[in-house]
Symmetry: D2
Subunit: 378 residues, 4 copies
């Protein structure tokens, strides 16, 4: 991490109360590099739970209503400068708007919103705001993912032809939502998750990762979505064919019903000179294969890597960095951007999220029409 | 290998002269378990080359013309009982017909023929023959593939939902055919290879493997084929969506232009209870993951495996068996079938090959029509 | 991490100024779970550097002299409660004594001291102190290491027979100390590192890990130490035979001159019923092999693991946790121990460190005598 | 395999009747490349079993007594030219002598003999014979092992400093010999196996592999042998420290009681410039790590390998070759040596075996004396 002025940004959080998964991840991420101080939160819309959660975390100012929080924090001299939104998808847009309209910077979990219409509306609000927006596509902040992106940009793969990306899990193989599991309930509820299930939850990550590394985006998609579990309203698996703007083709497989897969996000990119391969579950390695030469195992923390990887790496090679470190990289770089008034081209923005919603929407539409090639649009 | 009467079958070979790859593989396979004696061959259509090849191999009777060979061998008392066909695809049908019409058993490399029409014609000839037919889909004869198939049949995966199969190579990344490389020349020539390139050459293997293990076949396919190299007339990469008769869905990726991949055939099958994963390049292992339990690494040669695996395994666990051993399993089982008048349900037949040609044909048609779901047909 | 009262412990640090590696690691570890607040430091014995380092970190009270720091902090009402010692080895003893004598808790990096004599003296001081002592053998705090230990204790391996442990690096293959590299300079200087080089620096970790998991300790060792690099005064590689109190035998290999190894700490333990295998560079997995059954791949974050692993795990399976998280586990558990007045049996103590010094001393002695079996002693 | 005159050598076999493991391996190996014809055998010392075994294998001439076989075969014009000895260790010497004295070439399994005295006596007989001798240290014939040896010779690792070699199995974890298992019975019987158990059976392989690749041999050893199973007379595990003639040091671990290990022979060699790593269970790969560069994964069958690997490789990269192919390489090269009157420097000879017996003997002696450094001698 590059050196930045030692001042902690005042941070708030919406969502992320007791029992939440991603809220805790954001808090670890905010804390690791010491650039934020969590001072306010609307951790739950239930009063007691919000209070209890705030107290357990030692957060000074607890709110129940995010609108009230945005209003009051914007009026305090020591009010929050940044808010992290870690609610279910359907609240991303209204919460983000509330803070952006008051020029409070937003860190928002993905997907951007529940629907494309919301995403467009949010986009307009953001344009009118002085505040900045970070979408936490955390996988794109792993050092070896950054290295991969740099390699593609430098032409080390030649012209990109083929992209295979996949994100497989197994936790929704059975009807976990019917057991009351909080994570499963909202993700399988169209009112909270939006128009897509698996495609929105993890397909969007896989798609962003592929675009981020290959330095392109899809121009059209053809999807076959499935919903394997009885009574499940949203998709839990997707096979999506991709055609990219740079001429490459590819396939995206996302599944939450594939037994034996925990969080198996894998990206492979092939050009006419070389190929690369990266696995999120062993993130400190990147396999690089030049045609006709032995495959090379590039590993985080080594002197032969580019600045792109080195700048988001904390400890020496062989000491594994993981998911929290990658997540923290986004927080760290966003703090740096805010404090130094620079722009970091690697950070996922609201535009990234808007494009992601177009991808999700086109995929759902394609599948509903038995597999048409559907343009993603602009 | 189970004990069989010690008599060597008299074997002939068509194709496989100097410089051939797959002909040599067939000879290794025929020799390993000592059930065949190679006594005649039409190893090349060029007289000198045929003679030279036969002499180098110590083959007694050398022919130039496969018709003459079929005729004369069928008339000898000590004539061949079985012929191996290891020519380019377009010769499979005429050669096979010549021998089947004379009731000589046929071992034929894949794909069955160059076109579906040829496959149908060959099928009719075979029906009228007393002879038997083996198609060398060798990957289905690896012990751990047999184990996988047995596990699916026993219901150890539950209901099959998802199949991901891929076969990636890199040897055609550049225009090898223009350098005169014999293997590349005929595979990229429609007159010799038939209607498909990569899909026919390796996609057909991947598809057969998936069907063999999951104990089903596709009812419709949707394909996006590519031909990446300038001047190449046939496809060198394919992304194919699959819908299977048992309700499962899947994806098949075949590529001969993916740098870093040698012969990377990988199969993953997921049911509602468990998943399995197998890689051809580490064939002695099968990963088996029951939902909620630690993944298990099943390995060839262990007492906990089924007869399905044990019966095609030669040496103790930890002593790796490879490609030649799997190939030899087909030869061994075919010999056993011929000598004992039993039927081995695991052996790929002419019907397997005919279905494979339907798959290839439907994939090409789908891609030519920008990705339609095309029924495979019967 | 189990729930603890939300109060941050006031933390100080000795060593860890600009350019230090392990000091930064300790700070990450202290911050991650929010149980400490770093408020004072003697980060360097050079005044300017100490000041600059403290400022960059936002540390309120900066000292140059650790004695002065111990004295003054012990007199403040808001003085530090805990100090982290991250100096070269030869300062561990005097610094720790200074704080222990004032009943300030100590977190100290390994090895305990530079010599066994110092370790004994420190031990006496500690006995007379009210304060507690944590030795940061961080590898023993990985969730899957805890699982391994629990499995051994439950008898899942049967009687332990054989232990193979190794810790290989390559960063000292050439004479890095002659280039002025700070980490290399003090580690290869007997005045700062103590009586051993590689054995003290990483051999001590490997040995502690083996004892921790196998729930035993060596009763005698036989060592062959090497110093491969011209002019290097301390060992940079060690092969050590081990005989344990529980009757097991084993081997420890530590090397800092093995090209291709970054931080390759690997432990294998075999009993008469099962074996386990763990690699620090892929720490989220533990291979468990019951004789005659398929190997199992136990992975962090799954429901089938014991509390021992679950209690030191933060995020769901498939989201890799790494080195910093494991290090932070020690800080977190030590905070919990201090705040709740409980004793965590998994935490490495001063006694652990004293035994470690006996191991180092016996190994050096054995090697100096061309490989005698040397008792470790008590 | 290079081209050789097409004439099959007449082969005999002593040992290897029904139920034998290694005899069958030798037959596969002899058959694969078609350079041998098995025409005579003394497959068992029991008449019925010998007859039955010979018949099942289609062997023309069956003997019960190896002396009679040697005598009669040497007198026939069409008598065997080569004999394979696949008996328990104690018969290696007398059988080999019987054939060598009649100038019949010998292929003999390892270890050379049951005792060093026998080895010396055999050595003298061999010197007086016109016949040649091959010791089947098959692991040294894997293509990637040959590559490793070539790399060391070319100086690609720099000066060799450290060698770690291990060979772990688990099949003797319990007292298999008491169940009547044929393989276990003779290997744990000093009268048949000789002075060592595990060290002789697999330690000898590991040691030969290390010496073969590193192009050196040990000058002294220090061993700690164990016999873990009640009633077992010979060692079943060994930790052996090594000092080599070229100045390198190392460690050899051999175990037959390590649950989870099938045939885990692993070699790692480190020089002052680079390191290599090879695993017998994934034999088509060799990891090569130059200090400061990404590790490379060298794989069999690629154009970037040396002739040393290419000349013992049959099929393209990605098509795994295994144990039988490596074993067959020895048979193939020996045939070539016999037929062309050349000398292949890679083939293990009687001198290799004699040195191996010195290693075994020194290891046993060292352990019996509680770990002395014992010179291996010449």
């Amino acid at each position: 991490m590059s050196e930045i002025t030692k001042r902690r940004l005042r941070l708030g959080m919406v969502g992320g109360g007791e029992g939440a998964f991603i809220g805790e991840v954001h808090r670890f991420a905010a804390r690791l590099d010491d650039h934020y101080e969590l001072v306010a939160g609307a951790l739950s819309s239930q009063h007691d739970k919000a209070e209890r959660s705030a107290k357990a975390l030692g957060i000074a100012r607890s709110y129940v209503d995010f609108e009230a929080m945005a209003q009051q924090e914007s009026e305090r001299e020591d009010g929050i400068e940044v808010v992290s939104i870690v609610t279910p998808n359907h609240l991303h847009a209204p919460v983000a708007m509330a803070f952006l309209q008051r020029d409070i910077h937003v860190i928002c979990d993905k997907p951007l919103t529940a629907t494309l219409a919301e995403a467009k509306a949010l986009s307009q609000v953001a344009e009118a705001s002085q505040a900045q927006f970070l979408l936490t596509h955390n996988y794109s902040a792993y050092p070896m993912v950054r290295e991969a992106r740099a390699m593609v940009k430098e032409g080390k793969l030649g012209n990109i032809r083929s992209i295979q990306v996949e994100y497989a899990q197994d936790w929704l193989t059975h009807s976990l939502e019917q057991t009351g599991n909080k994570q499963a309930v909202w993700r399988s509820d169209p009112a909270q998750a939006g128009l897509a299930g698996c495609v929105g939850d993890i397909g969007s990550h896989a798609y962003q990762l592929a675009c981020f590394v290959a330095n392109t985006q899809a121009k059209e998609v053809l999807a076959d979505l499935s919903s394997w579990v009885d009574g499940r309203l949203l998709d839990d698996e997707a096979n999506i064919l991709l055609r990219f703007e740079n001429g490459a083709k590819g396939h995206l497989w996302a599944s939450q019903v594939a037994p034996g897969n925990e969080n198996a996000l894998t990206l492979r990119v092939y050009g006419d000179q070389a190929g690369i391969e990266w696995h999120q579950e062993t993130p400190n390695e990147l396999i690089y294969s030049v045609l006709g030469e032995p495959s090379q195992r590039l590993r985080r923390g080594n002197g032969y890597l580019s600045d792109a990887a080195a700048s988001v790496s904390r400890i020496p090679s062989g000491h594994p960095e993981g998911y929290l470190e990658a997540f923290a990289n986004l927080y760290c770089e966003f703090a740096e951007q805010l404090l130094t008034a620079t722009t970091n081209p690697h950070l996922p923005t609201l535009a990234t999220g808007l494009h992601g919603m177009r991808f999700i929407t086109a995929s759902v539409y394609s599948s509903q029409n038995n597999g048409l090639w559907v343009p993603i649009g602009h």
